[in-house]
């Protein structure tokens, strides 16, 4: 293994996540390799159904393990999280790695006031007494930009707006100053003005706390604004990975290029034509052989693809899983 200047905060090696459907396991994440560096915002983009959530939940093993299988390695502090007992993992969940979910309306327990839900993290990771916990919860609410922390502390989730609730969820995630925050489409359920506010907040807090963030999104605009590096995910695989700059300057995978073409401010006529049609097949019907994207680029003759696509290095730190990444052409109308 090559010597890195900086040690990765967390590394995923050949990560596989599969779900049991009608008695059989199907991979939703299929051989993902990633390293998250300290103090970085790592974005994962891809259409709905490409396995982003399955990947995110596997890191601290939040799946229902009755019908989920996870294999590979998740290395954190020289330990493979996949081999830890629930008890040991619970020491890491919330303290070192925390989550922000997509839908703020369902992320909080409707029967418990917001304050105690923030304190719940502190209960299991600190020795704070009651008043200290309350102080910390109020401090967090203040930190996430809630103007009346005392009122919000006493509120039930249904008494808060969506934006406020997502702020409260962020407060929950940050309670123990984790080194990694996994935010799974944290703004998808919010309206546009709120999206910007919440993202600004996340970025500010990330800078302040020097944590790393895995930001899952299908919005490339968000990536451009916030991310240091990006992985593009399709059908359970990372098809392209690069620094954010590189990816926007020199996208190589047809899927990446298609995603870029479909963002609203891609204004050239040509770009718009380059949006590739189709959707991610459902898990049961994912192609398991050859390039998974080939069915969406039928105009490329089969002979041009590798039977089993491998990563090609475009430049240091920029890899792509596409044989013909240099010769690929879009369908001409």
């Amino acid at each position: 293994m090559e010597e890195k200047q900086e040690k990765a905060l967390i590394s995923l090696r050949n990560l596989q996540v599969s779900f049991k459907i009608e008695g059989q396991y199907y991979n939703a994440v299929d051989g993902v390799d990633l390293e998250i560096m300290p103090n970085e915002v790592f974005a994962i983009v891809g259409e709905s159904g490409s396995g982003k959530t399955a990947l995110a939940l596997s890191i601290s093993r939040l799946h229902n393990m009755n019908y989920t299988r996870i294999s590979g390695h998740i290395l954190y502090n020289d330990e493979n999280l996949l081999e830890l007992s629930e008890r040991r993992l619970n020491k890491i969940r919330g303290a070192d790695i925390s989550m922000i979910f997509q839908d703020p309306l369902t992320s909080l327990n409707p029967l418990i006031r917001v304050g105690p839900q923030i304190e719940e993290t502190l209960v299991y990771h600190t020795n704070m007494n009651k008043t200290q916990k309350k102080e910390r919860a109020l401090e967090l609410l203040n930190q996430v930009g809630i103007r009346n922390p005392d009122v919000t502390y006493q509120s039930y989730p249904h008494e808060l707006s969506g934006g406020m609730r997502q702020r409260a969820v962020i407060a929950v995630a940050l309670a123990c100053k984790p080194s990694l925050v996994i935010a799974d489409e944290p703004t998808t359920a919010l309206d546009v003005t709120l999206q910007a506010q919440i993202l600004d907040l996340l970025r500010a807090l990330q800078r302040e706390m020097q944590s790393s963030v895995i930001l899952i999104t299908h919005d490339l605009g968000v990536v451009a604004e916030m991310a240091t590096r990006v992985a593009v995910m399709y059908a359970g695989q990372i098809v392209e990975m690069a620094s954010a700059q590189q990816l926007f300057k020199n996208p190589r995978h047809p899927y990446t290029r298609s995603l870029l073409a479909s963002i609203p401010h891609a204004d050239s006529e040509n770009d718009r034509l380059n949006a590739i049609k189709g959707i991610v097949p459902t898990l049961k019907y994912l192609p398991r052989q050859g390039c998974r994207f080939s069915h969406r680029t039928p105009w490329i003759p089969q002979s041009e693809h590798e039977a089993d696509p491998k990563y090609h290095e475009v430049s240091p730190g920029h890899k792509v899983m596409c044989t013909c990444h240099e010769t690929f052409r879009f369908e001409t109308a």
Binding site: L62, Q102, P110, H158
Partner: protein, 323 residues
């Protein structure tokens, strides 16, 4: 809250009026009256006619209704035509039997349904869950009457004789037993009818509890709680079970109403001297003064059950306020 409850009680009054009205109209359409089949066939017709006249049976239904309502407001519940005694006395003798039977039946209902619902939900998709599903299907397929008959054949003196049939307490115990022995004898007499009444009610509760637990287990806030490092057993109690119990708790009022009205069949099957059997007997003997008061009572009980459900819901769920 108290105002709301008071208002809901006031709303009940017109509802009950409508029910009694419908009942009177239906009763007036039924063939026969209190004197049919009760009298000596040799009695001269004009005497019978005189009796009808005296009892007010010849009045049109709306006049009978007005008289009845007027009496009710003066605390006069009327005279039972078969027992020739005030209705409240006839009902009062039996109502406690039904009350205890209902309470016992409810206790059994929840003692069976709660653990099964929790287990089925907690271990969903496992063999245990499937075994509980079999219980549900058997209970669904077995009407109260059939279950009652099966239990009688198996456990009453007709079968193993583990449980008595008919009556509420054994006469010997009643005359010479301690209060505790009397209590136990009552439970012994009520066991089969109570189980029979409970079985149907358990189905809905198990279903509801299981579905809720399965749903909550997959909820975002449970994932969030897990991502905080909260141990699973705490999550189950604090986040899953508690939230899943809300609909069950708010359903209690309805189950109570259902159980008490359900005793009509149970008491009939087991020849149990409560108001349920009194109700059926009174219908077949056209003892309308008794029937009317009982219908009113059952209707009132149901309305109170619904209200109780709403009240419980507002207490346990901060999102709900009754209006």
């Amino acid at each position: 809250m108290y105002k709301t409850i008071l208002r809901r009680f006031l709303i009940m009054i017109p509802q009950l009026f409508v029910i009694t009205l419908v009942m009177f109209i239906l009763a007036s359409q039924m063939p026969g009256d209190a004197l049919t089949g009760l009298l000596d066939p040799n009695m001269p017709l004009h005497v019978i006619e005189q009796m009808r006249e005296d009892m007010g049976l010849n009045l049109p239904w709306y006049e009978q209704y007005t008289l009845w309502i007027a009496g009710m407001f003066q605390g006069d519940f009327g005279m039972s035509t078969t027992h020739r005694r005030p209705v409240e006395e006839v009902i009062g003798e039996r109502i406690w039997n039904t009350f205890f039977l209902g309470i016992f039946s409810l206790t059994i209902t929840y003692l069976i349904a709660m653990p099964l619902g929790v287990l089925a939900g907690k271990y969903d998709r496992t063999a245990l869950d499937k075994a509980i599903a079999i219980y549900i299907f058997m209970a669904l397929a077995m009407p109260t009457i059939v279950l009652g008959i099966v239990l009688i054949f198996l456990f009453s003196p007709i079968g193993t004789g583990w449980f008595p049939l008919g009556g509420t307490v054994s006469a010997i115990v009643l005359s010479s037993g301690t209060p505790f022995e009397i209590f136990m004898s009552r439970l012994h007499h009520m066991a089969l009818p109570a189980i029979t009444g409970a079985l149907v009610s358990t189905i809905g509760i198990i279903f509801m509890l299981r579905a809720n637990i399965v749903d909550k287990k997959a909820s975002d806030y449970v994932s969030l709680a897990r991502s905080k490092g909260v141990p699973d057993r705490v999550i189950f109690g604090k986040h899953i079970l508690r939230n899943s119990l809300i609909p069950v708790a708010s359903n209690i009022g309805l189950v109570i109403a259902f159980t008490f009205t359900g005793t009509v069949f149970v008491e009939m099957i087991f020849n149990f001297p409560g108001i349920g059997r009194l109700f059926l007997d009174s219908i077949s003997l056209r003892d309308f003064p008794v029937v009317n008061v009982l219908v009113l009572f059952f209707a009132f009980l149901t309305a109170v059950g619904v209200l109780l459900s709403d009240i419980i819901l507002t207490i346990v769920d901060p999102r709900i306020r009754i209006r």
